[in-house]
Amino acid sequence: MEIILAIITGVLYASGIYMILRRSMVKLILGIILLGNGVNLLIFLLGRITKGEPPIIDSAKKVLEGVYADPIPQALILTAIVISFGLQAFAIILVKRTYKVLKTDDLDQLNTTDEDS
């Protein structure tokens, strides 16, 4: 299971960064989404995957004993998903608006800010 997740994480990172490096703004957003998912999977993987050991304290005991699945990575991922969802929604609107004003999808055309004014 870990090895599959590790490979998927790597593929998501690589394809995300490749997409960010493309010139099209739509591909920039796709890259951001892929990279975000890659990071979430990485946290999931690094939080140790434990199957079938829910972190529930036995009614007879006071503390958790033995091996158990760590719930914190899932809370982290949930937070990160919500945040990156908001950012992606903003990015789509921003790119749409930029396309309307600039009439281009090419990031190399965004160079008026470097002109001397």
Partner: protein, 502 residues
């Protein structure tokens, strides 16, 4: 009440940003509410500062969860000092925004988002939990995305796309580093991480996470190979927004670097060399960039980059003298960079342009304002006894003692180039005769404003100049404060003991 004093700045900003949303269409009322809100935040920040100054590091556990398990807010000296500086800069910028930001922008919730930005900054300074730091960073960047793109002008949108792409990328790198770190130590509390990271056997992975943090925060604080988003975006929004970005957004990256590399990662020769090289290159590239620019806003932008290098260099030296210099420089820099961009806005309001070729004759027409603006410019250069002079002494002394002559040279070069550029700027903007250009008719010039409106432009600049003068002439107080913070940072047991109550 005093138990939760350090989270009050957060509560104040949250309250006012929500209140401002209810006043969505009443723009004039929003201006007053925002200024009042920032004044309240300033009072609360001073209160928190005095409280921590007298009583030492104060910790608030959210939901009363004991330290390594719940999220903690830690008000140590560094955090409350930065909260105080944020409040000062926020107060000045909110007054400056009242008239200088046009109605079309204010109508889309400018002030509400502005308070969210300050909320995020305060949160990032105060939190003691590394994932919580990520969340505050996200609040900061999402507010800054809205502020940079609000208004929707052509160059603003272009700047916003670049700003968005690189800051989002930086956040992802930060999150990756955080994931690696959590996998190694299994805790998120920074004090707890600091204790447990020493026990980790896999030092390679520790180093990888350190470099990932360096890249993530480095993009945000605009250090050498990672700063290219800054000159492309910071001059595009209105001056008030640029001012708060320049003063605080890059500095929060520096703060995070200081926190992570003093608390979590122990001194390490590889990281020291990396940080030193980056700092030297940052000073050189920022300084050289500033010389060739003709737009005063762009000149100031390259100064931000150049002077970030000073702080990173001091951090790399990792001695108490250097750290005191870094903290003093941080205090000086937040105030002065905010003020520079406000001055840029004031000049734009007087002359409709910030291009040095088209500017001139400011000293002949506005002698009093010019003298007011001279003080921050001279402080930036570091003419004694103004504020830029004192931290540079500490930094140069520390680099000399540590025998890091490249950094020593870079610091001198950075100061010299600042002097040259400021001299050029002074000659071009203030002394040169006004070149004959046609001023646009459809523009509300500074002279046409009513007295109260003029006041909103001049008061913030004067207020921040006064603070700069205090930092310069009251250098003894600031130096003592910086030294105390430096001692706290270099001996991180104090922080750890306060958080974990050992």
């Amino acid at each position: 009440m005093t138990n939760d004093i350090i989270i009050l700045p957060l509560v104040v900003h949250l309250f006012f940003s929500i209140l401002l949303m209810f006043l969505w269409n009443k723009i004039n009322l929003q201006k007053i509410v925002s200024i009042v809100g920032n004044a309240v935040a300033l009072v609360v920040a001073i209160w928190a500062f005095v409280f921590v100054y007298n009583n030492g590091t104060h910790v608030v556990e959210s939901g009363n969860w004991p330290a390594p398990f719940g999220i903690v807010f830690v008000g140590d000296m560094l955090a409350v000092t930065l909260v105080l500086l944020t409040a000062i800069a926020g107060f000045a910028v909110s007054i400056f925004s009242a008239i200088s930001v046009i109605k079309a922008r204010l109508r889309f919730g400018y002030f509400s988002v502005f308070h969210f930005l300050l909320l995020g900054l305060n949160g990032a300074f105060l939190t003691g939990d590394i994932f919580n730091l990520y969340v505050w960073f996200e609040i900061i960047i999402i507010s800054s995305f809205v502020l940079i793109s609000i208004g929707g002008e052509r160059n603003q949108l272009e700047g916003a796309v670049k700003y968005f792409a690189l800051n989002f990328f930086a956040s992802m790198i930060f999150l990756t580093a955080l994931g690696v770190l959590y996998g190694l130590v299994g805790t998120l509390n920074m004090a707890d991480i600091s204790l447990k990271i020493a026990e980790v056997e896999n030092t390679t992975l520790v180093e990888i996470s350190a470099v990932l943090f360096l890249v993530g925060f480095g993009i945000k604080s605009a250090i050498f190979p990672l700063y290219f988003w800054l000159p492309a975006s910071y001059h595009t929004p209105p001056s008030a927004v640029s001012a708060i970005f320049a003063g605080l957004l890059t500095k929060v990256g520096v703060y995070a670097l200081i926190r992570v590399f003093t608390l979590i990662y122990a001194e390490d020769s590889f990281l020291t060399v990396l940080l030193l090289t980056m700092a030297i290159m940052t000073i050189f590239s920022g300084g050289v960039g500033a010389i060739i620019q003709n737009n005063i806003k762009k000149v100031f932008m390259y100064f931000i980059i150049c002077h970030i290098g000073f702080m990173i260099g001091g951090l790399a030296l990792f001695t108490e003298v250097a750290m005191a210099g870094v903290i003093f420089y941080l205090i000086h820099d937040i105030i002065i960079k905010t003020n520079l961009f406000l001055m840029g806005g004031l000049i734009y309001r007087i002359k409709t342009t910030t291009n040095m070729k088209k500017l001139g004759g400011l000293y002949a027409n506005y002698p009093k304002l010019s003298l007011l603006m001279a003080i921050p410019l001279f402080s930036l250069v570091g003419i004694p006894p103004l504020s830029g002079y004192w931290p540079k002494i500490s930094l140069i002394l520390a680099s000399f003692n540590a025998e890091e002559y490249w950094l020593f040279g870079a610091l001198i070069f950075g100061s010299l180039i600042t002097l040259i550029v400021i001299a050029k700027l002074w000659a071009e903007v203030f002394w040169k005769d006004q070149p004959k250009i046609n001023f646009p008719k459809k523009f509300i010039y500074f002279d046409q404003l009513r007295l109260g409106q003029k006041f909103t432009f001049v008061f913030p600049v004067a207020f921040l100049t006064f603070v700069t003068l205090y930092i310069g002439f009251g250098a003894e107080h600031i130096q003592q404060l910086s030294q105390r913070i430096a001692t706290e940072l270099m001996n991180n047991e104090m922080y750890i003991n306060a958080v974990l109550k050992r």
